[in-house]
Structures are given as structure tokens and as C-alpha cells.
């Protein structure tokens, strides 16, 4: 396991390096922040001073080099707008997004697996057809539209749930969390469900496909021939095999959920990273954008690694090969 990690590490570092170039060049292409940051009334000298202070007068490769050097010292730069560390800005918002993404992934599994299991075991029943039709809706309805409908229904019309914000939060493990208070949970309900819709649908389809395949396998037939109860066959023999693809896909999807929570956060004014990055793009706050994108790359790399490790734990065949 350790040797496996050591082998993966340079690979991960290289990915990060390549991505940093892409990100840096990409952000440069968006536009010149000077035009937005400096008031049009400023004199030419003021303008030049500002440009020099931000380091924007240097050629791009030099800017990149100093960015890289700073990066290795753990400094991703300061926000042009807030004049604080970009990383600090992002980290402040990270828990809110993380909370949303993890809760929706959990919901995806908790709702998706039983429904998928049922749809796989009784594929021709009317309930199953409804489940599968529902999962297509979950895939195809645009999440901003669903979000707006949810607000209209539950906040405006019924008045059951708050339409935005995080509600009461509690300080725990160095950050503020909503899920630890009832008010926070009420605020989370709609954005989490909104973000989970796609994942529920995905898990339903994955689970169903897995059940259809595994249930026909010889080892399930053999388990029946051994006289095991149907409950044990499904909960142990079938489920344990299905868990492998489901965990892999859901795990890999977690990065996407975090990165694309933007839409949900915007609709529900959820003060997470997604909202921060949209605001930063609007004012071309380069250091924040770069830091955010680099963090996303890092996150994808780490998640990939974790999924591989989970895979090893779940699948004894992989576990042995990599020893």
C-alpha cells in the first residue's frame, strides 16, 4: 500500500505542474484585471504604480515563475480585491461547499442504492419503471430550474424552508458547520437535495445495472444452491459486488460535485467556494481564480487516490496485485 502511494506521488506532482501552466495561461487569456481594478479617473503614474505593485508589468513566464516559487513556499498570492491571502479566502468558504457536497453524495447513496436495488430485483414491476423514469428526469432536468421551482414551492408558496443562506452554524474542527444545528439543517435541505438529484439518479442506474448483472452470475446461483436466504444473498453476495463500481463512480464524481456546486450555491445564496469563484471571475481577481483552480486540481488528484485505495479495500483481487 505504501509503495503504491509512493509510486503514485510523482505522477500526481506532474499532473499538478502541468495543470498549473494550463490554469495560469488560461487565466491570462480571460482579460486584464487592471482595467477593472483601477478606476478610470486614475492618472497614468497611479496606473503604472498599481500595475507594478501587482507584478503585472513582468512578462507572463516571469509571473508564472514567481507564482511557482511562491507556491512552493505555500503562498498562492493575495487577492487583488480583498488584499488577503487567496488561499485564506478560499479555505474560509471551503467548509460550506464541502458540507453541501458530502451531504448530497451521502443522500445519493442512501436514496439511490435501495431504489436501484429494488429496480434491479424486480425490473418489470410498475414501481421499477417509475423509478427508472424518475432517474431520467433527475439526469436531464437542469439543476438551476429545479432549484428555482423548489424555492417557489417550499419557500414562497408553502413557506416551509428558508430560501437561502447557511442559517445557524456551529464552530467545530476549526470551521463553521450548518449541519449541526436544526436551523442549519433546514437551510441545507433544499440545496443538498438540489445537488443530490443527479447523484441519486446516477446511483440508481449504477446499482440497477449491477444487480441485473450480478444476479445472473453463477456465484449467486451457487449461493442459492447452498440454501442461503434471499436476504443474505442480496445483502451480502450481491451488494458487496455492486459496491465496487458504485463507490468508484460516486467517489470520482465527488470532485465534480464540489467543482460544480457553483450553480446550486448561486441559486440558494450558499456562501461556498462556488459563489466566491463566480464573484472573483467577475472582477478578474486572478490570484483567487488561480488558487481555486489549483485547489480543484489537487482535490481531483487526492480523490482519485482515495478511490483507488477504497477500491483496494473492496476488491480483494486488486488488493493482492498491488502488494
Amino acid at each position: 500500500m505504501v509503495s503504491y502511494l509512493l509510486r503514485r506521488l510523482p505522477q500526481a506532482a506532474l499532473t499538478m505542474l502541468v495543470m498549473s501552466v494550463v490554469v495560469f495561461v488560461g487565466v491570462f487569456a480571460i482579460g486584464n484585471p487592471v482595467d477593472i481594478l483601477i478606476s478610470p479617473q486614475a492618472t497614468a503614474t497611479e496606473r503604472d504604480n498599481a500595475i507594478r505593485a501587482l507584478g503585472l508589468d513582468l512578462p507572463i513566464w516571469q509571473q508564472y515563475w514567481s507564482f511557482l516559487v511562491n507556491l512552493f513556499q505555500g503562498d498562492v498570492g493575495r487577492s487583488f480585491v480583498f488584499n488577503v491571502s487567496a488561499l485564506h479566502l478560499i479555505m474560509e468558504r471551503l467548509p460550506a461547499t464541502l458540507e453541501l457536497a458530502l451531504a448530497s453524495t451521502l443522500l445519493g447513496l442512501v436514496i439511490g442504492m435501495p431504489f436501484g436495488l429494488y429496480a434491479g430485483l424486480a425490473p418489470n414491476s410498475r414501481v421499477s419503471t417509475s423509478i427508472m423514469a424518475g432517474s431520467i428526469l433527475g439526469f436531464s432536468l437542469p439543476s438551476f430550474w429545479v432549484g428555482i421551482v423548489m424555492i417557489m414551492l417550499f419557500s414562497v408558496h408553502l413557506g416551509w424552508l428558508p430560501s437561502g443562506g447557511r442559517g445557524d452554524t456551529v464552530y467545530w474542527l476549526g470551521a463553521r458547520w450548518s449541519f449541526l444545528t436544526t436551523d442549519g439543517l433546514a437551510h441545507m435541505a433544499m440545496p443538498v437535495l438540489n445537488l443530490a438529484l443527479f447523484q441519486i439518479s446516477m446511483v440508481i442506474r449504477l446499482t440497477r445495472a449491477g444487480v441485473r448483472e450480478v444476479i445472473l452470475s453463477d456465484y449467486v446461483k451457487f449461493a442459492r444452491a447452498k440454501g442461503l436466504t434471499e436476504t443474505r444473498i442480496i445483502l451480502v453476495h450481491v451488494l458487496k459486488n455492486i459496491l465496487i463500481p458504485v463507490i468508484t463512480v460516486v467517489g470520482l464524481n465527488l470532485g465534480t460535485v464540489i467543482a460544480f456546486a457553483v450553480v446550486t450555491e448561486t441559486i440558494f445564496s450558499w456562501p461556498g467556494m462556488g459563489k466566491l469563484i463566480i464573484d472573483s471571475i467577475n472582477v478578474l481577481d486572478r490570484p483567487v481564480i488561480v488558487a481555486y483552480l489549483m485547489l480543484m486540481v489537487l482535490m481531483f488528484v487526492v480523490i482519485n487516490l482515495l478511490v483507488d485505495l477504497a477500491y483496494m479495500v473492496l476488491d480483494p483481487r486488486v488488493r493482492l496485485e498491488s502488494r
Binding site: 444452491a225 447452498k226 440454501g227 443474505r232 453476495h237 473492496l314 476488491d315 480483494p316
Partner: protein, 324 residues
């Protein structure tokens, strides 16, 4: 009599029509006896085995007949009663050992669950029995091997594990569905010997499904020959192989390579196995039969032509009465 199957029919209802995969099969096995069930691919051997286990899945269903197991008709009992018999009084060994064990569960889990599905025993006791069972089928250092996963075993070893599982409750009947077909020849012999030893030790009745006549000749007491869902000939192994009545049986025997006739062309049964969806009327073998006659357009009935030797044929070899 351990098992007595009477007039068993198992059909598959498909969109194209109903397929009679097993069509009026009757067979029986006495305590401690071995019945070899032979026939070419697609003749319905596996479906017969699964029907006895009541493991035929939709779109298949048991359309009729009785499966008398120690006097109880398995075709009539509840699913839960059947579950209590499976793996306990009737066990099954499958064809492909690479596929029969669950890849993500350890061997001990797969053995202990089988014991505890039928008996209230402690885990320790079950583990001890699982270990003994592995030792009994010739798996070296069973204590350690219990903790292994299936992919850590070779095909032959996996089949031994499957056999150990089948014998865990010392069943009265084991249905072995071509358990050696997927293995190479030397291993085949070992597995064969192992099963033979265990059945005679425990007095287990055995239905050995195979398309290999030489294996059946060496192992079985009785033989039943299946063709297109029907039994066409049945009797003592020596008797049937030496004096086949049905032209299909004779064809099967003649197509076995024989070292005394090296170089001579093998006698193939002419034609192809017909699809079960459109069998010829009457005797389903008649279009391939060298002895076909007008009468074969009528369905032949099973008849005891010789003592304890039946065939389903209008014009068998070894006529004991005149044909005209």
C-alpha cells in the same frame, strides 16, 4: 430411492414461443448410486438439474411432473421448505469453478454461511467444520486457505472448495453439473476420484451430468441419455454402452475417439442438433437417424425393451421382437 423424478417438464416462455427444455423426463437414483446424465450441448441436462433444485429462473418454469425426494414432492413444497433442503439434503456442484465462488468473499465466509444457513452452530464450530471439510477434499494447509479469496486458488482447487461446500451437510443427493469439463485432464481425474470417494463414504446419491461418455462409463452405475429435452435411453452403464438400443446412444458411443481404431474416421452423428424451437414431429431424433421409418412420425413412448433397460424408440437396435 433417494430421488424419483416423474414426467418432469420445464419450459421457457419466450416471446418467440414456448421452449420445452425438459419434456417428460423420468429418472430415479437409489441411495448411494451414481446416475450419469449424458447428452449433447443444449439437450437440457443443466435445466433438469436446476429443476430438481427448483432453481430454474424466469422465463423458465416447471410445467409439470413430480420430483419425489425421499417421498416429498419438491415441485409442491413452499420456497422456504425448498431452501432448507438446498445445500443441506440436496447439493449442487457447478460446471465452471472459476465462476461459482463469490470473488469478494473469503472462503471461510462462503463455507460458514452454508453451515449456518441450516444449523444453529457457533462461528468457531462452523469454522472448524469448514477447515475439516477443506482438508477432506485434499486442500493443503486448510487452516490458512480458509482466509484466502477465490482468486488465490487454481481452477482445480476452487472445484475442490465447491465440492467441500457441497458435502458440508453430508447431503443425500448431489447434482454435479459437468464439474470436470472446465479442468485439464489430470485434474479431472483427481476430482473424479475425490467425488467418488466421498459419495461412497457418505452413501450419497449422485447425478453426474456430463457429455463425456468415458467419464460416465468409469463412474456411474446407471446412465440416462438425453436428447432435445427427452430421455431417450436409460439403464445400467455397462448394459447401455455395450448394447445401445437407441440410434442416438449408438451414435454417441461411436463418436468417442477409440485408440483401437486409431486412424479410422470417427463416426459422427449426421446433421446438427435441432433447435428446441422447431423440433421435427414425432421422434425428435428421426431427421438425423439412420433407422428412420414412417412410424417415427409418431411420438415414441418409453418402453422397457430389455430388463431394466428402457429406450424411447420405435425401431431400436437389439430387437427383441419382430419388426416389419
Amino acid at each position: 430411492m433417494t430421488i424419483e423424478v416423474r414426467d418432469l417438464s420445464t419450459h421457457f416462455r419466450l416471446s418467440a414461443g414456448t421452449i420445452k427444455a425438459v419434456d417428460g423426463v423420468s429418472l430415479s437414483v437409489r441411495r448411494g448410486q451414481i446416475l450419469g446424465l449424458v447428452g449433447e450441448s443444449g439437450s437440457g441436462k443443466t435445466v433438469t438439474g436446476f429443476s430438481i433444485m427448483r432453481l430454474v429462473e424466469s422465463p423458465g418454469f416447471i410445467a409439470g411432473g413430480n420430483i419425489l425426494f425421499q417421498g416429498t414432492d419438491l415441485a409442491r413444497i413452499s420456497e422456504e421448505e425448498m431452501r432448507r433442503l438446498r445445500g443441506n439434503r440436496i447439493a449442487m456442484i457447478f460446471q465452471d469453478p472459476m465462476m461459482t465462488l463469490n470473488p469478494v468473499l473469503r472462503i471461510d465466509t462462503q463455507m460458514v454461511e452454508t453451515i449456518r444457513a441450516h444449523e444453529k452452530t457457533s462461528r468457531e464450530e462452523a469454522l472448524r467444520r469448514a477447515r475439516d471439510a477443506l482438508g477432506m477434499v485434499g486442500i493443503p494447509s486448510p487452516e490458512e486457505r480458509l482466509k484466502a479469496y477465490p482468486h488465490q486458488f487454481s481452477g482445480g482447487m476452487r472445484q475442490r472448495v465447491a465440492i467441500a461446500i457441497a458435502f458440508l451437510h453430508k447431503p443425500d443427493l448431489i447434482i454435479a453439473d459437468e464439474p470436470t469439463t472446465a479442468l485439464d485432464v489430470t485434474i479431472q481425474g483427481q476430482i473424479l476420484a475425490e467425488v467418488q470417494k466421498l459419495t461412497s463414504k457418505f452413501g450419497t446419491s449422485l447425478i453426474w451430468i456430463s457429455h463425456d461418455l468415458s467419464v460416465v462409463a468409469a463412474l456411474a452405475d446407471e446412465i440416462a441419455v438425453m436428447y432435445a429435452g427427452r430421455l431417450v435411453e436409460q439403464g445400467k452403464v455397462g448394459e447401455v454402452l455395450d448394447h445401445p438400443l437407441h440410434p442416438y446412444t449408438k451414435g454417441l458411443i461411436d463418436s468417442v475417439p477409440n485408440r483401437n481404431r486409431r486412424g479410422a474416421a470417427l463416426n459422427q452423428i449426421k446433421g446438427m442438433t435441432p433447435s428446441l424451437a422447431d423440433l421435427p414431429e414425432g421422434c425428435s431424433f428421426r431427421t438425423r437417424c439412420p433407422r428412420e421409418a414412417e412410424i417415427c412420425k409418431q411420438v415414441p413412448l418409453t418402453r422397457e425393451w430389455l430388463h431394466d433397460h428402457t429406450a424411447r424408440c420405435h425401431r431400436p437396435y437389439h430387437p427383441t421382437e419382430d419388426f416389419t
